[in-house]
Structure formats: C-alpha cells, structure tokens
C-alpha cells in the first residue's frame, strides 16, 4: 500500500452537511469519502492505494477534478484497490453529485 496526501487550492467553497461515501474497495475499484472541513480555500485528499508509484497520475486526476468543481474546504479520503483513472474520476463525480443532492 502507498499513502500520500495531495493538497488542492480552490476558492469556490464546498457545502457538504452530510459526509458522502461512493464506491467499494474491490479489485480495480475504490471508495471516495467526502467531508466538510474548516480549512477554507484548501481541499486535502488522503489517498491510500494498493497501486504503488502512480502519485503523479493521482495529482493530475485530482487537479482536473478540482478545476471543474467547488472543493474549497472539503476533505476527501480515498481507499483504492487499483482503480484506473477513469473509475477514479467517475467515483469522484458521483460522490460530488450526491454530496450536493444530500444537502438539498
């Protein structure tokens, strides 16, 4: 397993009242947990992955996701069992969308 934290800055503030979990930790899949934090324009992402050596790919996937979504003040935690970037992006989007619908 490899653990690392990626920090993203984003001035658009997230609004998550209820933490949200998407996905399942199984081969080629992952779970994404999104929570509110009080860290202002910063989003921290804790990644725990079984695929060692892909930190730069995570950085790129998360940076793209950050560009399109309001992540300021969000805390994301990920347990990954070797998901491809496509699956990672999909879960991030699913988690983000359901965090919004939970707050409505």
């Amino acid at each position: 397993m490899e653990h690392f934290q990626i920090t993203l800055s984003n001035s658009a503030r997230a609004d998550i009242r209820q933490p949200v979990l998407c996905g399942v930790v199984s081969s080629g899949n992952l779970e994404v947990l999104m929570m509110q934090s009080d860290s202002g324009g910063i989003c921290t992402v804790d990644v725990n992955t079984s695929a060692v050596g892909f930190r730069d790919v995570w950085q790129a996937v998360l940076a793209d996701f950050n560009e399109r979504h309001a992540l300021g003040g969000m805390k994301i935690a990920i347990n990954d069992a070797g998901a491809t970037p496509a699956v990672v992006s999909l879960r991030l989007r699913q988690a983000y969308e359901s965090s919004r619908s939970e707050t409505q």
């Binding site: 695929a51 070797g82 491809t84 970037p85 496509a86 999909l90 989007r93």
Partner: protein
C-alpha cells in the same frame, strides 16, 4: 513423349503418393491406427503442408499423428496454415520436421514460437492476414497435402463440415485442384449426410478420429464481466458513431468492449430510436451477446467466419438471420466472411493493446509472435470498393481536405480504455511491435491496424475523429486528447485539444449528451450468461465453464 511428362509432374507426384498409400485402404476410409503410416506414405520432403487449424475448429487428431511420424522420413516441411493453435503445431517444429512456416495467427502458442524464432530453429515466411494467406494458396503457397477436419463423412468421402466450416473450402479447393492430397479427420462416418459441404471427389482419405475434433468457444464473453467503463465506451460508440454515421453493415472484434455495444442495442440504442437504423447487417461470428439484439428485432442478417459452441440450436431456429443449409445447420466460411468484412461492411470496430501517436495499433508484445488473424482485413479501408452507402460517403467526405475526386471511406475504429488492468497504458510513444520486430528479425514491425486506415479512436474520455484532422500535429493531439491520464495523454497541448474539441474532432461524453454516471450495468440487456439463455428462449446452450446450472 518426354516433353509431355514435364507438364504433369504434379499429377505424377499425386499418383506416386497414392500408390504408396494404396495398401492401407480399399476405399477412402482409413482406420485411425493407420493415420501415422498414411502420413508417412503421402508426405515427401519439401512438401507444403496445411494442418487445418482454424480459429476454432482443429484437425487435432491428424496433428497428433503428424508428431508421431518418423522425422527421418517426414521432414523439411513447409507449414502453410492460418492458425498455429495446438501444442502439436509447435512440437512438429521442435522435432525438426519443419523448415519454414507461413501463417496468420498463433495466439495460444505465441511464446513458444517466439523462442523458436529467436534460437534460429524456424524461419517464418510471413505472418499474413487470413485473406492474404488464402489468396496465396492460389498463387504460390498451394499445399501439397492438406489435413482437414469435418463433422462427418459418408462412405464415398463426401464431407459435412456443419456450422464450423470455416477454412475448409479454401484449403480443399486449392489443394485438390493442384493435384494435392486431401486427408480429412471426421468425427463420424455415416450412411447419409445432412448436406454435402465438400464433395467426395475433392477428398482422398477419410479417417474417423477416436474423439470429435476440438472446438474452442472463443467468442463467448460473459456479460457478468463487463465493467461500467465498458458500458460508457459502448454508449459513446452508439451515440457518437453508430447513430451519427447511420452504420448498418459492420463487423465487431472479439472483446468485452464490443460485447457491451451488442448488449446495449436493445436498451440504450432502442431508447435513442435507432432500431432499424443501425446494426442491421453483420459479418460476425454468432456471438452469444448478440442474442438480445436479434430477439429485439435489430438484426436482419449475420454471416459468420465460423460458429460458436452452444449456439447451434439458436442459429438453426433463426434461419432468417443466419446463413443455414437446407438441413437447418449453419454454414460458415472464413474466406467469404473475411471478404464480406473487408468489402461489404461500412465499419470495423475492435480493441487492441497499444496505439501509438500516429494511430498505428498492435497487440504484439516483445516476447510473443501471435499475428493478427482477420482484424487487418476488416480494419483496413477497402480501396477497391465502388458501391456507395451513406456511412461510407460521409466518412469519405470528412477525410477529403484537398478537393480530390469524391470517394467513400470505411470506418475503422479502435475502442480501448486508456489504461488496461494493472495500469498498463493503451497509448504509447512507441509500439512494442518495434522491439518484437528487432528480436525476431522481422522486415516490418507487426502492426495490426495502420494509422492511415484508422478513422476513430474511442476511449472513456471520448471520441477522436481522425478523419477531420488536417495535419499530423492535429492527429497526434487528437489522440493525446482522448488518452486520458496515460503519459501520452498527459503530454497533450491542452489549448490545441480544446481547439480540436470546438471543431468536433475530439468529443467528450458531455459533448455527446452522455453522463458517465448513467453508465451502469443495469443498461445491459443481459447481465449474465443465464440472461442470454433466457433471451434465446432456452435455445442457447453455453459450454459448461460458463454455466452455474
């Protein structure tokens, strides 16, 4: 007199060989125990030999007999056959009985073959496409002896090849009409055949094999293993390509990506109102995953290269769709279906292991010599084609940037996920084919589909329409633009890719109105093999390894 003789050397050779075999049988039927003796009698050093090894059907008994022949007598053979699939095909090389091979595909034996080539124990003439090899049977690679497989024979030597006719007609026609010897292994000898697929006077010997010939269920894909990402790419293919071009005549490669497309036809495509407008005529093996689309009335016609284990009853019950004999069973024909796929289809779509920045794609890896079978025949523009169709014309229009004379173009599409399992990228700067070419001393790197034939690439990131690219730079950025987070994808010029997106050269799922979150397995018309059986009204009988009942 002497002058006459030199015009019939082949005929004299045939007489000589038959003479040596005459003591083994009164008629054409020879006992299984005599198989080795028969081969030793008819084969001569330097012979071109075809051991019928198709994609699926294998003349396995005769192959096994061949490796028991005396290497002192049976030697210096030149194998000319489409597929090297059985261990015996390689064993006979290792036994030193073969000096040269010309073939198309060797997937199951690719590793062993590569080692033999590297150690200089065999020389490869060429790795062909199927059509190319069959063509050479009639030019300069005509077999002297063909060992073929059939379902049944009658006492005269008429053969019933049944649903798995595959390569047999091409092999026998070339061999029999150039004074060669045709030996058939049959699963049974009967008084009267359901139908005659190969007439008796093209066949010299018939041997009933102790076991029926082996058939591999190569084209069965279990819907349970289709991923959400494959559902997404299938949605992109249907909406962004099939619907856009109005593709009615097509061929699908084998794989879960294309199986997903087949299973979305009665659901997603039907919801888009595409029934009757796409996917009506196919050059395709009877894929079990096509059953729901057939049952939904999407499909009018399917011609097949070979059959598929378990599909026999279903095919027989759908004669309007499949090509069947008057006996009810299917007749396949690899050579004709390859020609159909090449000339009469508007689209080929398949998957690959690697795509480079020019769009060349290959499944070759450095330590395996596998060949590509039929994919290059389907996955190439048919430059000789003259008849028009809307899809063909539109592709042609899109590809002409210079005001040249109007002409159509075949759609050749690769559908891949940006990363395969274990995070292997599908997009690379250089194909592994180059490394293989160097190790195996090939004259050209083994490319499956050339970039210049490729028209579209589909990934979960979207579609790249290479027809619309005007420069090599645009083409490269279009490929990088849908290569996601692979090193190739991350090396893209973001501004240029956005520019291509504005011009519709790169289209993201959202550009097509597709929400990736809708791409769930619940869209599949069948989620398991059992669902397929039920869709077939119980007519499909899957092989045991696919059943939990």
């Amino acid at each position: 007199m002497g002058e006459h003789a030199q015009w019939n050397r082949l005929g004299e050779g045939r007489t000589r060989r038959l003479g040596r075999a005459a003591r083994l049988a009164a008629g054409k039927v020879i006992a299984a125990e005599q198989a080795v003796t028969l081969l030793e009698a008819v084969l001569e050093p330097g012979d071109r030999l075809c051991i019928e090894g198709n994609n699926q059907k294998q003349a396995d008994f005769l192959a096994h007999a061949l490796v028991q022949t005396d290497p002192a007598r049976v030697r210096d053979l030149h194998l000319v056959q489409s597929v090297l699939a059985l261990p015996e095909h390689i064993d006979v090389i290792e036994r030193g009985q073969v000096s040269r091979i010309d073939f198309s595909f060797s997937g199951p034996q690719a590793g062993r073959l590569a080692r033999l080539v590297e150690t200089g124990r065999i020389s490869i003439g060429a790795i062909h496409t199927y059509l190319e090899l069959f063509a050479r049977y009639f030019v300069d690679l005509t077999p002297n002896v063909a060992l073929i497989a059939a379902e049944a024979a009658d006492r005269h030597g008429n053969l019933y090849t049944g649903p798995n006719t595959e390569d047999t007609p091409a092999i026998v026609e070339a061999t029999a009409f150039k004074q060669g010897i045709v030996i058939a292994q049959v699963s049974r000898v009967v008084d009267s055949l359901p139908r005659v697929d190969i007439p008796a006077d093209w066949v010299d010997f018939v041997i009933q094999s102790p076991e029926p010939y082996y058939v591999e269920p190569l084209f069965t894909r279990d819907p349970a293993l289709i991923t959400e990402t494959q559902v997404l790419t299938a949605m992109i293919a249907i909406k962004g390509l099939y619907a856009e071009y109005g593709i009615t005549r097509l061929n699908h490669g084998i794989g879960f990506d294309t199986a997903a497309i087949e299973l979305l036809l009665p659901t997603y495509a039907a919801d888009l109102g595409l029934k009757g407008k796409i996917c009506t005529h196919w050059a395709l093996n009877p894929h079990p995953t096509l059953i729901p689309a057939i049952e939904a009335g999407f499909v009018q016609s399917v011609h097949s290269f070979g059959s598929e284990v378990g599909m026999e009853k279903y095919i027989a019950a759908r004669p309007d769709v499949f090509f069947t004999g008057h006996d009810g069973s299917m007749r396949s024909n690899r050579a004709f279906c390859q020609a159909a796929g090449h000339y009469a289809c508007d689209l080929f779509i398949g998957s690959t292991l690697q795509i480079d920045l020019q769009g060349n794609s290959s499944t070759a890896t450095a330590d395996r010599i596998a060949g590509f079978g039929g994919a290059p025949n389907m996955g190439a523009d048919a430059r000789g084609r003259r008849h028009a169709s809307p899809a063909w014309l539109r592709a042609g229009r899109e590809s002409r940037h210079d005001g040249s004379i109007p002409r159509g173009r075949k759609l050749v599409v690769q559908i891949v996920e940006t990363f395969r399992e274990h995070m292997e990228p599908a997009f690379v700067e250089q194909l592994d084919a180059w490394a293989l070419a160097e190790r195996a001393k090939m004259e050209v790197p083994p490319v499956m589909i050339y970039g210049e034939d490729l028209t579209h690439i589909i990934t979960e990131e979207g579609i790249a329409n290479l027809l619309l690219c005007r420069t090599p730079e645009e083409r490269e950025q279009a490929i990088r633009g849908i290569a996601g987070y692979t090193p190739v994808g991350m090396g893209r010029d973001k501004r240029m890719v956005e520019n291509l997106r504005d011009r519709g050269i790169v289209r993201r799922p959202e550009d097509l109105g597709i929400d990736p979150r809708q791409a769930t397995r619940d869209l599949l018309a069948a989620r398991s093999i059992k669902d397929l059986v039920r869709a077939s009204q119980g007519l499909y009988e899957p092989p045991k390894k696919f059943r939990n009942w």
